[in-house]
Amino acid sequence: MHPAFSVVFFTTATGAGYGLLAMLGVLGPLGLIAPDFWPGFVGIGLALGLIAAGLLSSTRHLGRPERAWRAFSQWRSSWLSREGVLSVITFIPAGLFGLGWVFLGRLDGWVAAAGVLATFGAFVTVCMTGMIYASLKPIAQWHSPYTLPGYLIFSAMSGCVLVNALLQGFAVGSTVPLAASVLLTLLGWGWKLATWRHNDQLEIATNANTATGLSGGTVRSLEWPHTEENYLLKEMGFRIARKHSAKLRRITQALAFALPILLLTATFALPWPFAAVSSGLAAIVQFTGMLVERWLFFAEAKHTVTLYYGR
């Protein structure tokens, strides 16, 4: 699949944003964060900012963005529509939660309830995002049990690392989010490795034989219906060399997982402001790594239409 930056950024940013929102929505009411203005303002602002930037970026993938509002209508059948609906709905508790925290300085009562609802909304929205991909049967690498948990894990991971950075930044860091960040990053790493392993060993029942209905033997593409690349090939015929892919997987592991773990582990031993710097760096490096991961998520996904082109 063509790794369009608008979509790569969309899923990465909203994943991180919803993760951060979800973390704030839980940690606040649990009393693990004080209802101070700045952490609230920056935290919720960053979460909603990431979500909004992601959603905005996704509209760049649209041919007719001015009609984007229509996407809320088909929630009964479409994961994309559901995602749209939920992303908007989630803004309500998230907004209330933010108002309560930032302007009223409280994290209890209805604000806490709003926080929990926002967390729930974030969770479900990320589920919807995951399902958009997990539901696509023509793409075996996505239509797998690894996709949905992956989206959730990466969202939680990015969110947690961001929360940690936030708290460390305001010198209110604590072991729980820090440890959780390390653990979630480890989990994310493991999940990604498992996903890759799964995808590399995929035995896909759909092949050139079933695609053409020609049973037995081999089916080789002789000539395409057109000489130059068409929409199908540009959108779904993206190919990445094995060597290139391996390199990017190493980069992903380094940036999204290994380096953040190193930095976060170091944070345990570092005083403020160094802890803040290392935590912030971990978040930034991880976000960059997740962009690479998401780019690969698309680039390594093979659509069945490529079978018709002998790819």
């Binding site: 088909q74 049967k137 023509p138 209905g213 081999t218 593409s221 002789l222």
Partner: protein, 244 residues
């Protein structure tokens, strides 16, 4: 509405005979020609005279070599929308632009509702949908919905353009929901198959596999020729034949 209609009786679709298709591209350009001025007009061509030419087409013909232990065969393979019974391209659509008609099973796009998110093309395993970058909406085969019921065309012309054009009669059209219809009979007689049945889209269109190397292959029960053995060999035979 992108929820699928409850299965109706009628399933209009095409049957493509891979044993007969010579790959002449007649169906391809007949489709382009009708549809570029038809229901989904235009089928935009970008850079039509340049090095990156890329147009919207609803029907494309590939060619393959199918090699089995029985030998090799070149297969020309037209590919277009299969008007599936459970088309994910419809259910994934967030806007209701993509829909399956309850009355005849045709899968269509309401261009006015399409936001151009392209998800339907991702959901289609067959590459049946092509995006018109100029207009910003997805386009696809309409099964010539503006021909098959068209009061302004002579009755006999109310078939999809690709079927009307096909010089080898390799394309057929009808109601595959009716087991008694001529197309359903053809599919039954010739062992018609679904494409990618394992994905569960339940395509309406069927493909008739090539007959070579099958029990359906044309064959001649000829005995090996024996040289004329009698006196005078061949010329003697000629004389005897003429005198008899």
């Amino acid at each position: 509405m992108t929820c699928l209609p409850s299965p109706g009786g009628k399933k209009l679709g095409l049957v493509v005979d891979l044993d007969t298709c010579v790959g002449c591209q007649a169906c391809v350009t007949a489709c382009k020609e009708w549809n570029t001025g038809g229901h989904m007009a235009p089928l935009t061509d970008i850079d039509p005279y340049g090095g990156h030419v890329d147009g919207v087409w609803f029907n494309r013909v590939h060619s393959y070599e199918h090699i089995t232990e029985m030998g090799g065969r070149t297969v020309n393979f037209p590919r277009s929308c299969l008007h599936c019974e459970t088309p994910a391209c419809v259910t994934v659509c967030p806007t209701g632009a993509s829909y399956k008609r309850a009355s005849d099973g045709i899968v269509l796009i309401d261009e006015d509702k399409c936001i151009g998110c392209k998800l339907c093309s991702w959901a289609c395993p067959y590459g049946a949908r092509e995006f018109d970058t100029d207009v910003g909406v997805m386009k696809k085969c309409t099964l010539c919905v503006d021909r098959i019921y068209n009061d302004n065309l002579a009755e006999g012309d109310r078939v999809p353009a690709c079927v009307a054009a096909c010089p080898t009669s390799a394309r057929h059209f009808g109601d595959l929901g009716d087991p008694q219809s001529a197309v359903s009979q053809l599919v039954a007689d010739r062992g018609g198959v679904d494409l990618m049945p394992e994905l569960g889209y339940r395509p309406t269109n069927k493909y008739l596999p090539p007959r070579a190397h099958t029990q359906r292959a044309a064959s001649v029960p000829a005995k090996a020729l024996e040289p004329v053995r009698a006196e005078g060999a061949f010329l003697g035979w000629v004389d005897r034949m003429l005198s008899s």
